[in-house]
Structures are given as structure tokens and as C-alpha cells.
Symmetry: C2
Subunit: 271 residues, 2 copies
């Protein structure tokens, strides 16, 4: 859950450049969901080049959970197609460092961890599609409650690539049936932000036995009698897959502490 | 149900012009679903001008059940935007004539009923979207069974216009969840052929108490345990609405005996 202090902090940053500069200088250390509304926020994964080729193929084969916005050259800590003046080593509010699949540190700056063989992956996230749903007038329960969406590990297997494999993790949003249809249309416009749902209704078909008990996110989820559970591929999938591959080093953003890009959400819309 | 004889007949007509000419000369009197594959078939409603303005507004207000492809000038028995050399009085294989809302005749030619004040409405139908679903590799149960789709009268009220009002009739197609999502995407491309579904899952929310018992179409419908019922607005809606308005005269196609147009299905696709 987001602290009230964190929320008031982040809402100061209307522009992604300002938010990145604040992260770089240690003024922004909290959640980013309310920073720079209308701009794309990205999930971050940084891997040694020896793992990067497999992971790139994994993203290519699993575009719904792993919608790749950009990938860097080895050692390059910029992503000029996503953001001006970006230094990926400092401009995210908080990072997690994993060694051999184990979380070893949470840090505000990864300059001391940087190496010439590190490759940065920026993946689209559902903040953009949540915003698109809200813009279209659809209620989005978890946003109203200021919680993350309920996340579930499914029985849907991702397509493996090298050392990367594992189950797809999904987010669930409850919608009234007509809104569920509208939500399919709206999110189809954003394939770079997880795109259309992967499943609707009938949770047991994807290995979810209790829709009220997410594996991650809020303690409880609920679907009213007049609602359908709608399931989208989730950016936790690549995080989980990478951890299980136990790379010697992997650096990600801390959940909710995203990379702010200069792309507008609408610039990613298919139509 | 379609007779085997009717099926072999109609499959002779690969081009809509040939099918219309065969209807005009009395050689094609049966179902049209297998005529001229890839071309748009239309629902037909012919009304006196005194009713036409209200009905035009009704279509405008209810585009999903009443996707208007074209409307004629009063007395004009052509529809040049839909078909070359069309004579609406002779080129449909079978017609129904209603007086004051009651079916009085089924005829192969309406030349003797024609009047200078009659206005022709051509409405898109779900044959086009069924074809689009099949083209995309989705199974469509009722097509496999060579039956019409199950149709249900719902509790969804159409938006009234003048004397025209009444409940929306829907077709139901059972789809596996991932296919249901794909079906939303595919049919969204065809707003002139009923477009996206109006409802998914939870039949009781739209007044359907028993999903196995359609009001029209086959005797029984079924939805497997791993399927969702998906509901689209149906062209029976305007037929039902018009009959309840009890116009002094109304002429429609006989169900399944459609107007063949020269438009390709794909020419109507939004994108």
C-alpha cells in the first residue's frame, strides 16, 4: 500500500523529466503511480549480456506478459528512444538487486553495481491501460481503492526461451459484462502495455481456485454477482521468470517504483 | 433448418449478381447463407414513408441491433450504393408481407405490392461476422451444426423512436474464454454487421433464465463448462419492433432468405 506521504510527494512531479531528476537527486524515493499522469511508466530488468539474448527471445515469444518497449546496448545506461537525459543507474526511485535469484539489496542508485556488460530491458506496464480504462469512464476497482490489482499465478505456461520459463502471472479486474467487452476493446489498443485480456470468467480454467485470494497484491479480491473477472497478463511474470532463472546478477525496479519515460500513453495506442 | 436441396442450390451462386438474377427469375428460392461467400448479406425492411422517418431514427439510436447499411428514397426500388442492377421487388428469394403487424403472405416477388411511398431499409447481418470469426480460425458452433444461432429476447430495452420500441433480441455464441476475447476484437471491426458483443457471461443479468432454451432458432442451445456465452445484438430486434408497431404495411425478407449485396465483408471492416 502507498503511504499518504508518498502520494503527496509524487504528485508534485507533473513531467517525467522532473520526476527522473527528483529520483536522481534523492528527492523522489516513493511510488510513482501518480507521477507524470499520461506518461508511460516502465518495468525495468537489467541483466548481464550473457543472459540478455535468451531474455530478449523470451520477451519476443511472450509479448503479452513481456511487452518490450526498449532494450539497450550492453553497457549503455541510456534509453534515448524512451527518455531524454536518462541515466538508468540513478533515475528510478528504488531498485532491487538479485544475485543468483536471491534479493540481496534495495538501493536508490545502482551506479556502484554498473558493469559494461549490463543490458537494460524496459517493459510496458498496466498503469497505461488502467488510465485508458479510466479515461473511457470505466470504473477500475483497485484504482478506486488505491491498491495494486490482485495478481494470480496461473496454469498458463509462458513460451520458454533458454533458461527463462515459468507460469504466467495475471492481474484480475472485475467488470460488469458490458464494461468487460469495452475493456477488451480499450486495452487491445495498447499491446505495448499488456494489451487485451488473456482470459475472462471461469478462473479455474487457468488454475485459479479461489478468486478472492490473490497470490500478490491486496489481501483479498472480490467479484460481485453482476461482474465478470477479467484477466490480463502481468509484468510480475518476467520478474518471476527471471528470478527462477537465477542469473548471477539481475537488477529491477522496486515494485511500484517505476521508470518514468517521456512517451505519452496515447503515443503507444495502436489506433 | 436448411434443406440439403436448398444448400446445394445456393452454393451454385458464387457472385451476388448471379444470386440476385436467380432470385429474380425464380431459380433461387431458398436460403442464401452459402450464396456468394465473402459478400455482405442484408436484412430487409420496407415501410411506408409515414413510418420511415421514425424507423430511421430508431436505427440511428440502436446501431447494434439495427446497423443501417442503406435506406432508399420513397418509391425507389434500387439501392445503388449496395448493389448494381438491383430491383428490390424481385431480387430477394422470398419475402414476408405484414399488414397491421400480422403476417399475411409469403411471396417470391413484391412487384404487385409496390407503392410510390415505400422506403427500403437494408441492415447488416451476422453472416459477415460469423465469416470473420471463421476466417480467424475461431470455431462457431451454430455454423458447424448448420443451424441458426440461438436467439433470446432480453430485458435490455432498445431506445424508442416514435412508434418503434421493444426489447433487444440477441444471438448467443459459446466460446472458450480466450476465443471470446478474440471474438470481441474481431466483431468490433464490423459495426455495420452488429459489431461487438453487448453482453458476456451472466445471462440472467439480461433477463435470460435458461441459456439452453432459445426463444428463436434451434430447439436447444448449449454452453460447455469451459465456455462463456457471448451475446450479440440480433437483426430479429428490428423485425420484432416493427411488427409490434403494427404499420399498415411492412415487407421483410423471409428469415434466412437475405438480400445479396455487392459489398465485400472486408469492405465494411473498420480497420
Amino acid at each position: 500500500m502507498m503511504s499518504k506521504a508518498g502520494m503527496s510527494d509524487q504528485a508534485e512531479y507533473h513531467r517525467p523529466t522532473a520526476a527522473r531528476r527528483a529520483a536522481r537527486t534523492g528527492r523522489l524515493t516513493g511510488y510513482t503511480s501518480r507521477c507524470a499522469p499520461g506518461y508511460v511508466q516502465a518495468n525495468l530488468a537489467i541483466l548481464p549480456a550473457s543472459y540478455a539474448e535468451d531474455f530478449l527471445r523470451f520477451c519476443q515469444r511472450n509479448p503479452q506478459p513481456c511487452p518490450l518497449l526498449d532494450v539497450s546496448e550492453p553497457g549503455d545506461f541510456t534509453l534515448p528512444r524512451l527518455a531524454r537525459d536518462l541515466d538508468i543507474r540513478t533515475d528510478v526511485p528504488a531498485y532491487r538487486v538479485f544475485r543468483d535469484g536471491e534479493l540481496t539489496e534495495e538501493v536508490a542508485d545502482i551506479s556502484q553495481h554498473w558493469r559494461d556488460d549490463l543490458v537494460t530491458f524496459a517493459l510496458g506496464c498496466s498503469l497505461s491501460t488502467d488510465q485508458a480504462l479510466l479515461n473511457a469512464g470505466l470504473p477500475v476497482r483497485h484504482v478506486e481503492r488505491n491498491e495494486p490489482a490482485g495478481m494470480f499465478v496461473t496454469s498458463i505456461e509462458t513460451v520458454p526461451a533458454g533458461r527463462f520459463r515459468g507460469p504466467m502471472v495475471v492481474t484480475m479486474r472485475p467488470h460488469k459484462p458490458a464494461d468487460a467487452i469495452r475493456a477488451v476493446q480499450i486495452t487491445t489498443r495498447f499491446p505495448k502495455c499488456h494489451g487485451a485480456p488473456v482470459h475472462i470468467g471461469l478462473p479455474r480454467l487457468i488454475g485459479i481456485d479461489d478468486i478472492t485470494k490473490p497470490d500478490f497484491g491486496p489481501e483479498r479480491a472480490d467479484v460481485a454477482d453482476d461482474e465478470m473477472p477479467v484477466f490480463w497478463a502481468c509484468g510480475v511474470t518476467p520478474q518471476s521468470v527471471v528470478r527462477h532463472a537465477k542469473p548471477s546478477l539481475c537488477i529491477t525496479h522496486k515494485p511500484g517504483h517505476m521508470l518514468l519515460t517521456d512517451l505519452t500513453n496515447e503515443s503507444l495506442a495502436l489506433l
